[in-house]
């Protein structure tokens, strides 16, 4: 299967990363106020997940790591060349793996689903696919 043009992949990645920054920022701001994100569809899933110890890693809200990851992915999407192609792939792979772990925790340990976390996991999955296609198809080639 022929990969889409690199410009198309970069455009998709730019959109996804920007959206991801928005989602992660909302979660971080909601948490910093002592509350929790509001599940749009109702229920206490977002609250339960935000209250859980898994919402923090080494004392830092996971959403902060998410913002940092999305910012790097956005920068990689905006830049040309092999370095952004490879760094974008590495960050998207790590983000995708971490999202899988968090989704597993929500389903089998915390017993609650946060829609915002699911949205972020979905975005990260799409970013992983986009960045993987970009690296495999275009690394080592002229920008």
């Amino acid at each position: 299967m022929k990969a889409p043009a690199e410009g198309t992949l970069r455009g998709i990645a730019t959109f996804l990363a920007t959206f991801g920054i928005g989602v992660a920022t909302y979660i971080a701001i909601a948490d910093s106020g002592g509350g929790s994100p509001v599940c749009i569809a109702g229920g206490h899933g977002c609250q339960t997940v935000a209250e859980s110890s898994y919402s923090h890693l080494l004392g830092v809200n996971i959403a902060i790591f998410g913002i940092a990851g999305y910012v790097v992915l956005l920068a990689c999407a905006l830049l040309r060349g092999d370095a952004p192609r490879m760094v974008g792939f590495v960050f998207a792979l790590v983000g995708f793996g971490f999202s899988l772990y968090l989704t597993y925790l929500e389903l089998f340990t915390i017993d609650a689903i946060c829609q915002w976390c699911v949205a972020s996991a979905g975005l990260m999955t799409l970013l992983f696919v986009t960045n993987m296609m970009r690296m495999l198809a275009y690394v080592g080639r002229e920008p």
């Binding site: 935000a50 110890s53 590495v90 915390i110 080592g140």
Partner: protein
Amino acid sequence: MSGRSGREARREERPYEDGRAGAAERRRRLIQLGSAAGFLGLLAVAVVVVVSGSQSSGGDPGKISGAQTVNTLLAGIPQKGLVLGEPSAKVTLLEFGDLQCPFCKGFSEDVLPQLIEGQVRHGEAKLDFNNYTIIGAQSTPAGAAAVAAGEQERGWNFVELFYRNQGAENSGYVTDAFLTAIAKGAGVPKIAKWNAERKSKRVLSEVAATTAEAEELGFTGTPSYAVGGRGTAGIETLGTPDSAEDLETAISGAG
């Protein structure tokens, strides 16, 4: 003549083919490098997750600790049910917490001691713990055990000792053995009575009722606080304050 021109043509193509082979080789190496870096990145995150997880101990009925600290903190302060403090105190500070909640544990250890040693011990306010079971199914038996301990005037000892030995939420640590170990550590005098009451419909209903009350007050997280006193119009919600000073200010304002 034609053989010679063929050789020349092949000689001219060789650098081009060498260049293509070199570019393919470079691409292959870059992809290998990217894959290896991605693998290492995943490994690094896994290590951080494992290290972070190993820092949260607790939930072991054989290793209950902190009873002395809790007993010293609460010594000499009257308790009735899950209310800590002089019954005549003008201000009531209501806490809505979940015994499985790690933030509540943080508040219990870092924020409340200042308040208990100050305004509660001096009779200016009383602290009323209410279960707001939002973390998971194990929050209810934990909360019911605290209510039952409160009926023997050891409710706050139970709550505080539970927080100091809290395990990872919904990990299955809230067992009969763990709750019994906490009750014994908290100094609940009649364990058999406590054991029967914590499973009673009456006590379980009380846990459900305070959870419903928290929702009616509009709380969205734990721990959440509300204050009642002469300076308030009924119950005023505070949400989750940032510090003990914020709670002290709210109590002073309500008095």
